[in-house]
């Protein structure tokens, strides 16, 4: 079991290492804009989940 978990962790590390350097350069501004957009969309999804829960209950 422990061996399987460590194998999975190794796999994730290998993926992170393989894609460490992005091929497409992004300026800090673009990167922050993407992060803001991502957080904003997740916030909207959270709102929808809230609406879903209120409708169900």
């Amino acid at each position: 079991m422990l061996r399987s978990v460590s194998r999975v962790v190794r796999k994730f590390r290998a993926i992170n290492a393989r894609y460490r350097t992005p091929r497409i350069g992004m300026s800090p501004l673009v990167r922050s804009a993407l992060m803001v957009l991502r957080v904003y969309l997740l916030l909207l999804v959270a709102l929808m989940l809230y609406k879903f829960v209120t409708l169900v209950s």
């Binding site: 993926i15 894609y19 993407l34 909207l44 999804v45 879903f52």
Partner: protein
């Protein structure tokens, strides 16, 4: 003689073009028609019942929207020979890659649940219990993917795409008023004014036409099929034909429920089928058959989109041209996704109809993030070369992203402050 020689030459050329298209045809049509999945059918049926023909114009607007978004994946797949997940990891690094992959897996799985909801509801109309439907569907899909050839899988998927056209005769059988369709449906209008419900329906309709899984699916399918740069024009045609077909089917569903069930509160396509059967038996039956077919086609594609993405990132063999021994993890992830989604439907008392509608809206809310990456990848001139996005394509793509964000925001505001929009 000269005339006949020219005619023969043109005919032979046309036949050759059709033959060539039939070789290339597949990813575009399959992804687009599969987009009219069980959730889509429910959304269109509910739209017609709620707003009559009034939102047909909006559906027609979605033809170029769907085309422009999906066409980008054709170019990206044919040029880079990489699936969408791998393209994001490679282009933007692991951090953004994991974000996109997790988004995809959640939305894919939720959408797959809605496919099972649609299929079980459709067959329940014919007296088949949900557990049997889930078991039979898993067995059928397993058999289809395990045959070990992309080509065979694609042709079976195309057969189910053709079944999706069953709604068209149904619409003619309810004798809709062409005058009303033209006057109410083709003139842009916002029935009932701007309110939370209208935002919800507009978003749900966008969500049924373009969804994050479609980007991943079509690009991976283009790569698995082995399409090259020279095939891009046919890939575009395939995508365009698919976009038109999917919206035609959507419009015909809206016409059916807008004619017969106008003003009736429709919660699901299955409910619409039962109510239609009371007055138009065969139309209701067609609706139920179409709903099952839509769910099956959606399940065929969505489960593969996740497995392809997993395979690309984890480095597993991930082609339908491989057998289960060569790609065990690819098929294992396929069956785990399928079985777990099917199991949700069997939970007693689960709010299945509400889940279906909300999944569409959540999918469209997460769509802009995926679209932004797609547009950025298409602007990588170093790798895309002459197939990179033009300025016009960027403006169109950017506008689509903007409109979706605005609609999502308005819906969010209407959730928080329902009194604001009346």
């Amino acid at each position: 003689m000269n005339f006949f020689a020219k005619l023969y030459y043109r005919l032979a050329k046309a036949i050759k073009a059709v033959q060539l298209y039939l070789v290339i045809a597949g990813p575009g049509i399959v992804v687009m028609v599969a987009d009219n999945d069980a959730g889509g059918i429910t959304t269109y049926a509910a739209t017609g019942a709620k707003y009559g023909y009034n939102l047909i114009w909006f559906l027609l607007v979605l033809i170029p929207v769907a085309y422009y978004v999906q066409e980008m994946t054709v170019r990206l797949g044919a040029v880079t020979k990489r699936g969408h997940a791998e393209a994001i990891f490679s282009g933007f690094g692991a951090f953004w890659g994991w974000f996109s992959l997790v988004d995809l897996l959640i939305v894919d799985w939720l959408t797959l649940v809605t496919e099972f909801i649609g299929m079980t509801a459709a067959l329940e109309i014919f007296g088949i219990p949900p557990w049997l439907t889930v078991a039979a569907v898993v067995l059928l899909l397993g058999t289809i993917v395990l045959n070990g050839r992309y080509w065979t899988w694609e042709k079976i998927a195309l057969f189910f795409c053709a079944l999706n056209l069953v709604y068209i005769p149904g619409a003619f059988m309810v004798h809709p008023s062409v005058h009303d369709i033209v006057h109410e449906g083709l003139v842009p209008n916002l029935p009932g004014g701007l309110d939370g419900q209208l935002f919800f329906f507009l978003m749900a309709n966008i969500g049924t036409t373009i969804a994050p899984w479609m980007l991943f699916f079509q690009q991976s399918a283009v790569v698995d099929k082995g399409m090259l740069e020279k095939d891009i024009p046919w890939g575009r045609f395939d995508t365009w034909l698919g976009s038109v077909l999917t919206i035609i089917v959507a419009v015909f569903i809206v016409i059916v429920t807008g004619t017969v069930l106008r003003g009736v509160d429709i919660e699901s396509a299955a409910q619409a089928s039962v109510q239609l059967q009371e007055t138009h038996h065969w139309v209701g039956t067609f609706m139920a058959i179409g709903l099952f077919d839509a769910g099956l086609l959606g399940a065929i594609c969505i489960s593969l989109a996740s497995s392809w993405a997993f395979g690309e990132i984890f480095g597993w063999a991930h082609s339908l041209n491989t057998n289960i021994k060569e790609a065990p993890w690819f098929y294992a992830s396929y069956f785990v996704t399928l079985l777990s989604a099917g199991a949700v439907v069997l939970i007693p008392g689960a709010p299945l109809v509400l889940i279906t509608l909300f999944v569409q809206v959540v999918a469209v809310t997460l769509l802009p993030a995926a679209l932004v990456f797609l547009i950025l990848l298409l602007n990588d001139r170093e790798h895309m070369g002459e197939y990179a996005n033009s300025a016009v394509q960027n403006v169109i793509g950017g506008s689509i992203v903007l409109v979706i964000i605005v609609l999502s925001t308005l819906y969010g505001i209407s959730v928080m402050f329902p009194a604001l929009f009346g």
